[in-house]
């Protein structure tokens, strides 16, 4: 594995997105943040500061998710379709280096977008006169980790299937992963052994994104236990390593026609 070559591939992704209209997403984020928080803080009976924090962090997650999905699902297929992969793989670039480069490139872009959106959000909180808890940064880190796990899932799926299927399955992974506790309850409720087994399999395969939902703690109790700060990081590392391994192994065997 050569880090220089991985970095070169990552740089292509970064340049592509920075030079495209995707950066407009940040402007849309700002408009969405202001409108959504203003509307919901007026119609909701909850404390406006809680509503704004909840919507602000939720919007960072949704926009990050969109970015990862829309860019991620075509990350590999576009290279094959346009045949640019032929020129890349005819150089001394290993297939796993290509996958890791693509992964790091999209992670870096997501990080830049996440940080810019987070800064916009913090400035907005200051402008609204709402106190900023340091735990907001932890909640944002957990959101980012969720996105990175999703990127690794997208890469694993797109090494195995078409962009459409990758998109659908990734959304499925995300939605089911965010409802892991409900799935666990379903296991207890279901009587049929086959269904029970099926739900258990789903529960074990799909990453439990609920580990990363520290946003609720920040909004409601303004505290996150140190164990809840670091455990998700460990989980994220394990999930990412697993999905990247699947992506690299399946791409290694892919017949690039």
């Amino acid at each position: 594995m050569n880090l220089k070559r991985i970095n070169t591939i990552a740089r292509i992704n970064y340049l592509e997105i920075i030079r495209s209209r995707t950066v407009l997403l940040l402007l849309i984020y700002l408009v969405f943040l202001v409108l959504a928080t203003q509307i919901f803080s007026r119609i909701s009976i909850a404390e406006p500061s809680k509503i704004i924090t909840d919507i602000g962090l939720g919007t960072i997650e949704i926009f990050g998710l969109f970015l990862a999905l829309f860019i991620g699902i075509t990350l590999i297929s576009k290279e094959i379709e346009k045949k640019s992969i032929y020129t890349l793989l005819s150089k001394p670039l290993k297939r796993h280096e290509f996958i890791l480069g693509k992964f790091l490139g999209l992670c870096f872009v997501s990080l830049v977008f996440n940080l810019v959106m987070f800064i916009i959000f913090i400035l907005y909180l200051y402008a609204m006169g709402i106190g900023v808890s340091p735990y907001i940064a932890v909640a944002n880190l957990h959101i980012y980790l969720k996105i990175v796990i999703l990127i690794s899932i997208i890469l694993a799926l797109s090494s195995l299937s078409s962009p459409v299927l990758t998109g659908l399955l990734s959304i499925g992974f995300y939605l089911i992963g965010n409802s892991a506790s409900t799935i666990k309850e379903l296991v207890l409720l279901s009587d049929a052994p086959e269904l029970n087994l099926f739900i258990r399999i789903i529960y074990f395969i799909i990453p439990n994104f609920e580990y990363f939902n520290s946003k609720n703690n920040v909004v409601h109790i303004e505290f996150i236990h140190s164990l809840d700060i670091f455990t998700p990081v460990l989980f994220a590392i394990l999930y990412i390593a697993l999905f990247l391994m699947i992506a690299c192994l399946s791409f290694e065997k892919k017949d690039i026609k």
Partner: protein
């Protein structure tokens, strides 16, 4: 005797095509093809679309697996993962990231070879000058014409100063000026000691620059050798126009295998073609002895690779 730098022996490849059924249809793209490319020669790998040229090249570049056979490049046997360091490759209809400038694109590919910065910068300047795109080096490649993209593609293939150049249809889609320029660049690379393997269906270009060729048809090499061997300089092609032949005379011509009928109509007008070492007089006096008065025109020309290609295609 020059050493082969690329040696392909009994290379076979089958594609699986999945339709509506779970069982794939098998399509044999290469039937045990064998050929060698010698050091410092330009080797033309020629054939119609779908003949198996690109499949062979993709196998050489280790982009797709193969069923059986042996391949060695510069003495290294497949699968050798370090072979790419010595090869420059231009794929058919190359696409380069349209958001990058030519300079950025070359720098990107150069970095994959881990070239030192100073050497890479010098190489980029040299290659941009070689392909004649000095004025476009800072222009995004999305604005490039097809010819400019092809020249950029050749520049990226040369970024590592490779010993071997493998070019897949480098001249297709180019105008005559573009083709001439690219031919000259390929010839200049031969002068620098490089070996070039290129696939093409444009036979005129191949004839102008190739030392040796292989013609591939439906996954089989049907002809290979040097152009001098394949097209003897003493050969002539005669195109003979005849008129008002009766049915017996027409049949007589049809029965002679040496004649290829290019045109015929119900009035007995015929245009035939033949490749001979003999003179026009001998053909008229011997083969068309009884129809001399019906010959209205004879054109003589030196046979080309295209004539040879058409002949071989007809035979097989």
């Amino acid at each position: 005797m020059k050493e082969p730098v690329i040696s392909i022996t009994k290379l076979a490849k089958t594609y699986k095509k999945y339709g509506r059924t779970p069982f794939p249809k098998r399509f044999k793209a290469l039937h045990e093809i064998t050929f060698d490319v010698l050091e410092n020669e330009i080797y033309g790998f020629l054939g119609q679309n779908g003949a198996g040229k690109t499949t062979t090249i993709k196998i050489l570049m280790q982009l797709i697996p193969y069923d059986s056979g042996n391949i060695s490049i510069l003495g290294k046997y497949f699968p050798d993962t370090n072979i790419q360091r010595d090869i420059g490759f231009l794929p058919e209809l190359p696409y380069f990231y349209d958001f990058l400038t030519l300079k950025e694109m070359l720098s990107l590919y150069g970095r994959l070879f881990e070239l030192p910065k100073k050497r890479l910068d010098d190489r980029i300047e040299y290659l941009i000058d070689l392909v004649g795109l000095e004025d476009q080096k800072n222009v995004r490649m999305g604005e490039f014409s097809k010819g400019m993209l092809q020249r950029s593609g050749l520049a990226q293939a040369l970024i590592n100063d490779p010993a071997i150049l493998i070019l897949d249809e480098p001249l297709s889609g180019l105008d005559p000026v573009g083709r001439k320029e690219l031919r000259e660049i390929i010839l200049s690379q031969k002068k620098q000691g490089k070996t070039v393997l290129f696939s093409s269906h444009i036979l005129q270009d191949a004839e102008m620059i190739c030392d040796r060729i292989a013609i591939v048809k439906q996954g089989r090499v049907i002809l290979k050798g040097s152009l001098k061997e394949l097209i003897p300089p003493l050969d002539n092609i005669f195109e003979i126009h005849l008129m008002n032949l009766d049915s017996a005379e027409t049949r007589m011509i049809e029965d002679q295998n040496c004649f290829e009928i290019m045109f015929s109509d119900k009035y007995g007008n015929l245009i035939i073609k033949t490749r001979e070492t003999s003179s026009a007089g001998e053909i008229i006096n011997i083969r068309l002895k009884d129809m001399q008065d019906k010959i209205i025109k004879i054109n003589r020309k030196t046979p080309t690779l295209e004539d040879l290609f058409m002949e071989k295609n007809r035979e097989d």
